[in-house]
Amino acid sequence: MGLEGLLPELEIIRKDFPILERTVAGGKRLVYLDSANTSQKPQVVIDTMVDHLENHNANIARAMHALGAESTEAFEGARDRVAAFLNAPSRDEVIFTKNASEALNLVASTLAFRGPLQLGEGDEILITEMEHHSNIVPWQMLAQRTGATLRWIGLTDDGRLDLSNLGELLNERTKVVAFTWVSNMLGTINPVSDLAARAKEVGALVVVDASQAAPQLPVDVVASGADFVVFTGHKVVGPTGIGVLWGHREVLDALPPFLGGGEMIATVTMAESTYAPIPHKFEAGTPPIVEAVGLGAAVDYLSAVGMDAIHRHEQTITRYALEGLASVPGTTVLGPLDAESRGGAISFEMQGVHPHDIAQVLDTQGIAVRAGHHCAKPAHARFGVQSSTRMSSYLYTRPDEIDALVEALNYTRAYFKVG
């Protein structure tokens, strides 16, 4: 287990995650290799949420009493933490949504509304073939609603963005370029700042889906060159029910509001309403308070471990896993084969056994992986596969868990009598 690059305090970190003590499948130790789907939660995140609910629970902003002040401070403090985590120039640019999907829909929906940034007939939206459905469907809807055209950056055979025709795809009609930082299916890490710079040359808005990046590498929104960066709480060891939209102040100011209601208004009369400045303009209703508090604890936890160290750990595990998978006959990995250009999610096929059946056998061994299209049907279609099996590691993953996976895959082959 002495792999170079693992987190030095791996055993201590594992102790922070209570669920890793669990046994499944009749007494087997849990081997959780589904972190790209959702991450497990450290005790400090859970305890912070419990403390909030047991001792400081109140509605925020509107409440003018001790608990209200404490709750508001905890909630707005979480905004500061997230702003720091992203290196955002201003805390006001951090909008809390319910998940990454809502954040992407917020941008796509409001671009259909009247305003200086409204899309129309003849405009183009450029996305890529490796996107998660949450970064596809909102743009399909936007195209339908506005008459704009949706265009696609294709993929190379080894699962990278095919930028050979970017000069043609990016043109003066391109109003939005949306792409993922790290692919949740292929694992590919995309050249974010290069692509953003190219998109800015034609004046397009750049939307980056950092749902898989924020958990495992340092995300600096300024260095990214993007106008919007999105991620989701439950993949960064935080709770469900919360996502983040970061956006440039000028762009956020220029967008009309998304949802209407309490807390997002300046004033409401029967004749008309006016809206609060960012971030509140985009936070209608009671926000996810205890979820933000949990997310604040989560990003602090990750920062304390260190995003660079986590990235190194992920790459180390990924390299080890790529080697392990290569040793299983009939197994093909989708996406780049070098650990340096990818994140910690590895999708693969095994000849003669369907992904569901693989996942099922693995489950009886206590190993949790994902099987299916991973909300990336176009990417699967691109590689001519209907579904795949995906293992995904995180900061708590140990090399012997990869060993267990490899062994179980060999067992699966034997069970289904293939090869």
Partner: protein
């Protein structure tokens, strides 16, 4: 562990998976449907050909796991040749078995090879796999019946 797996992957299921019956899309047919399991992506395209009140043919093209493939094969074999009413009754029995969480005793006289799926009922995530083609068949058959009623009207 192997016992648990074996209760799911009965030999009969693996046999149907490797050598599915009635596979392929055939003419004639009165209705064709395409069903997917949104969570996992399993798909089936299925055609139904009725002659009077009889299920004359069920043909299909499907992609999916062993459970969904085997279930399609067993389903086609069970309903072809039956009257629509008989087939619907078998469908109802199979549905009850699948939704019974392992508490329903299957009737071999009715379900034949379908009793092999009794173990699937204990795996909630796989119940959908076993039901995909049954739902598609029911949907397609309902379409044919509706069209027939319209024509008569």
């Amino acid at each position: 562990m192997s016992a648990e797996l074996d209760s799911l992957y009965q030999e009969i299921i693996l046999d149907h998976y490797k050598k599915p019956l009635h596979a392929g899309l055939r003419d004639p047919f009165e209705a064709e449907v395409h069903h997917v399991n949104p969570t996992c992506g399993d798909e089936v395209t299925l055609r139904v050909h009725l002659e009077g009140d009889k299920v004359a043919d069920v043909s299909y093209h499907s992609e999916g796991c062993s459970i969904s493939q085997a279930s399609t094969s067993v389903m086609a074999d069970l309903v072809i040749g039956k009257t629509v009413d008989e087939a619907m009754a078998i469908h109802a029995d199979f549905l009850a078995l699948m939704q019974g969480k392992g508490t329903v005793e299957p009737d071999e006289d009715v379900l034949e090879d379908g009793i092999a799926f009794a173990g699937v009922a204990k795996f909630p995530a796989r119940v959908k796999c076993a039901l995909l083609s049954w739902m598609a068949w029911k949907d397609a058959t309902a379409k044919v019946l509706a069209d027939n009623t319209l024509e008569k009207a």
